[in-house]
């Protein structure tokens, strides 16, 4: 299942080169510092609610660090931090089955076959939240309030990312605007390909431990190509067949096991905060 990518490397289709952007997150390196979450919020104009910054249910995170535990008692206790962006599920077969895309009644989200990125169009979304129910990774978040920033902070908003209004769903876009920016540069230099270092997500660059690697999963020259094939690589809830493009690696067997649903043992020893 891990090597289910049959598409050729960067082949031409229509106008542009076809990419399949994805991530490999090394959980052995992740310290749970949360720099990726902060970088993501700053990059993507994610509003924060001053009055309840500790209420994780009402905070909108595109990138969220979970803490999982093996549930053992000392000295066998072990914890692991698990950063979770959008998985940008590809699904299988010709009619791809990205869970959120198939349920959206407004066509406010789609799967881009040229980049492998699942979009979210805020002006089209009317907030029914079917996609939130469909997403097995709890990636999508709902704007219960109009965005508000402390005075003066509006000046620091990213002009490349459109702020969302109350009543719409939002989610991680793999910093798609950075790809647009990189493409702009490539076009001005008369080339269509975007180099690996030209397009990196904010969380990837912010991670002080270097736990996140980002790139084109189908391009052998990109680091993620080899990393996703390592024996310790796995994906979350692979059993559902969502075919996510975010891979994790961990040398610990219980972490790899916790990533999937095992009937009978469901939820055992896995907690998240």
């Amino acid at each position: 299942m891990k090597d289910a990518h049959h598409k050729g490397e960067g082949h031409q289709e229509g106008h542009g080169t076809v990419y399949k952007y994805g991530m490999v997150i090394n959980l052995d390196k992740c310290t749970g510092c949360g720099a990726c979450m902060v970088a993501c919020m700053a990059e993507n104009n994610i509003p924060f609610r001053k009055e309840d910054t500790n209420d994780r249910l009402t905070q909108n995170f595109w990138m969220r660090v979970y803490k999982i535990s093996n549930g053992g008692s000392f000295p066998d206790n072990d914890i692991c931090y698990l950063p979770r962006p959008c998985m940008h599920c590809e699904g299988h077969g010709h009619h791809n089955r990205t869970p959120c895309v198939t349920v959206c009644p407004a066509v406010a989200t789609d799967y881009n076959h040229e980049t492998g990125i699942v979009s979210q169009i805020y002006t089209r979304c009317f907030g029914c939240r079917y996609c939130m129910a469909a997403c097995p990774y709890h990636v999508r978040v709902f704007n219960w309030w109009d965005p508000k920033w402390p005075e003066g902070m509006e000046e620091y908003l990213n002009p490349d990312v459109s702020p969302r209004m109350r009543g719409v769903v939002e989610k991680c876009s793999f910093c798609f605007h950075r790809l647009q920016r990189a493409r702009n540069k490539a076009y001005s230099e008369d080339r269509r390909e975007v180099h690996e270092d030209e397009y990196q997500t904010a969380c990837t660059q912010a991670c002080p431990a270097g736990a996140i690697t980002f790139g084109d999963l189908t391009n052998p020259e990109h680091k993620v190509y080899e990393l996703k094939k390592t024996p310790n690589a796995f994906r979350l809830l692979e059993v559902l067949g969502t075919n996510p493009k975010v891979y994790y690696t961990s040398s610990r067997a219980w972490v790899r096991k916790a990533a999937d649903v095992y009937v009978g043992k469901e939820g055992s020893g896995v907690t998240h905060t």
Binding site: H15, T115, I121, F176, Q180, N184, Y187
Partner: protein, 216 residues
């Protein structure tokens, strides 16, 4: 004689009676068309005037004069090194030529007195400004697809005066996005800048139709 007169009177009377009843039948028809006309005038004449507000540009800019002097559009509307498009020039671009007056035109005097000497930016109103959710890459269209500026912006390079800037009072979007024809009829490619118009060309040229191509 009298009988024929009576007959004529009767005929006339009969005609009068029939005329009167057909007139009564016409009243609602005429009322309908009168009302239709009134609402047509409101809908096509008065409503657009209410819907759009009008502003004048800070300076009456002569595009033709500048194109003749500078050569082409990219002399002022240039690409930056990172591939982004500069759009409307900043006053620092104007200073390159207009540090002091080059002629005696009152609009140039206005430029120097009000903006260049105090070091202020000219608050130009952008006709082609798209809503915030739209991503548009000039590099992709001009450099890669080889489109002419005219295709979207029209013959603005031939204008001698700036036209008034109209914007929708509700959305605050420039009228150029919807188009100047209130019925939305377009005869030239630059008449409208709605999503349908982008999609039309993208479809013709086989561009990827995914949302994230143009949205952000």
């Amino acid at each position: 004689m009298s009988t024929s007169e009576e007959k004529e009177r009767n005929v006339a009377g009969g005609e009068q009676r029939t005329e009167g009843s057909s007139w009564r039948f016409l009243v609602p028809v005429i009322a309908f068309f009168a009302g239709f006309l009134v609402f047509l005038c409101i809908g096509w004449g008065i409503f657009p005037k209410i819907l759009y507000s009008e502003k004048q540009q800070p300076i009456d800019f002569n595009h033709q004069l500048h194109v003749d002097e500078m050569g082409d559009c990219e002399a002022c509307h240039y690409f930056r090194e990172d591939g982004s498009f500069s759009g409307i020039p900043k006053s620092e671009n104007c200073i390159e030529c207009h540090e002091s007056a080059m002629g005696e035109h009152p609009e140039e005097a206005k430029l120097i007195d009000q903006y260049i000497e105090p070091g202020k930016e000219i608050p130009w109103l952008s006709y082609a400004r798209q809503p915030d959710c739209v991503f548009f890459s000039h590099a992709a269209h001009v450099r890669m697809a080889g489109l002419d500026c005219m295709t979207c912006h029209g013959p603005i390079g031939e204008s001698e005066h700036t036209r008034p800037y109209q914007y929708n009072r509700l959305t605050k979007y420039s009228r150029d996005i919807w188009g100047w024809n209130i019925a939305g009829i377009k005869t030239n490619t630059w008449d409208r800048m709605k999503m349908d118009d982008c999609a039309e060309c993208h479809e013709e040229n086989g561009t990827n139709q995914a949302c994230f191509v143009c949205h952000k």
